[in-house]
């Protein structure tokens, strides 16, 4: 084995036989589906966290672990479940992502920034906040992309994050 590494890009292609106008229609339709799925997922998660026992236990374990223990819930199990759930949802998000654009192994940096940014902007624990924050981030990145070019794009997410941590650490919707 030599020391070479290649980052393979994975993406979904439309059959080149299909005519262009139809191609654009397909892309637009697919993007709508992705948006719809993302919204549905967010709402589902939000409902899960507020309406089900396990969901509320997840919120509780962050606020007051000893009290949770006193209620007969094993905090370790709750945390394990939350970790698993988070990873599963992230996996789903990744699956949706690949429909929208190419994916390659070195993308992690970009998405760490974006994820932290959205979470901090929204404020911990606020699901509707994440939608608003995601919107703000997306728009900001597009603006920066247009005005300053692609080389500045990675800094947008982290920049917004730092600014928010500086002026309002609990985020826009946090408690």
């Amino acid at each position: 084995m030599t020391g070479a590494v290649q980052a393979y890009e994975v993406m979904i292609l439309i059959d080149p036989e299909v005519e262009e106008a139809r191609q654009e229609e397909i892309i637009a339709r697919v993007r709508d589906i992705v948006l719809g799925a993302a919204l549905a997922l967010t709402i589902a998660l939000s409902l899960y966290l507020s309406k089900t026992f396990m969901g509320r236990a997840i919120k509780a374990v962050a606020q007051d672990e000893p009290a949770l223990r006193l209620m007969g819930v094993n905090p370790l199990r709750v945390k394990q479940w939350a970790f698993g759930l988070a990873t599963a949802v992230t996996g789903l998000a990744g699956a949706l992502l690949i429909i929208v654009g190419p994916v390659e192994p070195t993308m992690d940096r970009v998405y760490i920034g974006r994820t932290f940014c959205v979470v901090v902007l929204a404020g911990l624990g606020s699901m509707p906040g994440t939608l608003v924050a995601g919107l703000i981030l997306g728009v900001s990145e597009s603006i920066v992309l247009t005005l300053l070019g692609a080389s500045w794009a990675p800094a947008v997410a982290f920049g917004l994050l730092l600014v928010m941590l500086g002026i309002r650490p609990q985020g826009l919707f946090g408690r």
Binding site: G3, V5, G113, F158, G159, L162, L165, P169
Partner: protein, 322 residues
Amino acid sequence: MSGQRTWGFWIGAAAVLGLAALAVATVKNEYYFFAAYVVIQFVVLATAWNILGGYAGYVNFGTSAFFGVGAYIAIMLVKYMALPLGLQILAAAAVGGALGFGVGLLTLRLRGIFFSIATVAVTIILETVVINWRYVGGATGIQILRPPVMEPFDSYIKMLFIVIVLVAIVAVAIARFIETSWIGRGLRAIRDNEEAAECTGVPTLRLKLLACTISGALMAAAGAPLAMYQGYVEPASSFNLTYSVSALAMPLIGGTSHWIGPVIGAMLLGTVQQVVTVTISNELNVLVVGVLLVIFVVAAPEGIIGLVQKLRHRLASRKPPP
């Protein structure tokens, strides 16, 4: 801090320097010095990280930023002002310290996870700024022609090796001083219970800022000779997040409570990394760090120091009473 221990430390340090000088005089294969340089460089980074991360408990992911800044300052000083290496290191340390202070002001009011996230943010933003700044070479970086080697060394890498050993000795000495002084006690109080520390009269923000400044200065000082080692700097490699991860993993593996921990961790992990790079591949390096980090965090959170202490206790309790 007992005077006897201090003498012991400096004798040990002199011995290390002597050993290094001996190696330089006798070992012919230059490859060893290239590898050893990297390992010792990590000793500096791990020790520096541990001052804020281990003693105070503030996990800093920004090592790459300070390291990269040190490398860039050094190379610009060489290119535009032909300054000698010693001055480069001092200048890099000064800038690193200032950056540490600034970053600290910005982020140290945040607790726990937010602080760590903020340090990642600073690193990426810094890297992006450098990529977009033509004066410092943008995405392609800066290249230099190495100046001729100084007497009495016969090769550049041997000189750099001695330099980095000196920097390491200084770094460890500083860490040891902090650890055994009232500063170290204050930092430990902060790490154990920041609110109680504040109410017991510990100026938490000031001490954290001090730790962050010194930490940053040392990390930048470690980065300065890199410019000479490589002959170039460029954003992607100089600000590579692997430095942050390694600087964090090594103290965690070695043990964060004592200055010897980062040294052990760096020598161990650094050597493993070099071996892996040579025998398998460069990319597998990061995997090794990750795996070792996970193993140690789960099985031995106090690091190798902790394991040794546990062993000592077990041996002591097995001894029959006198």
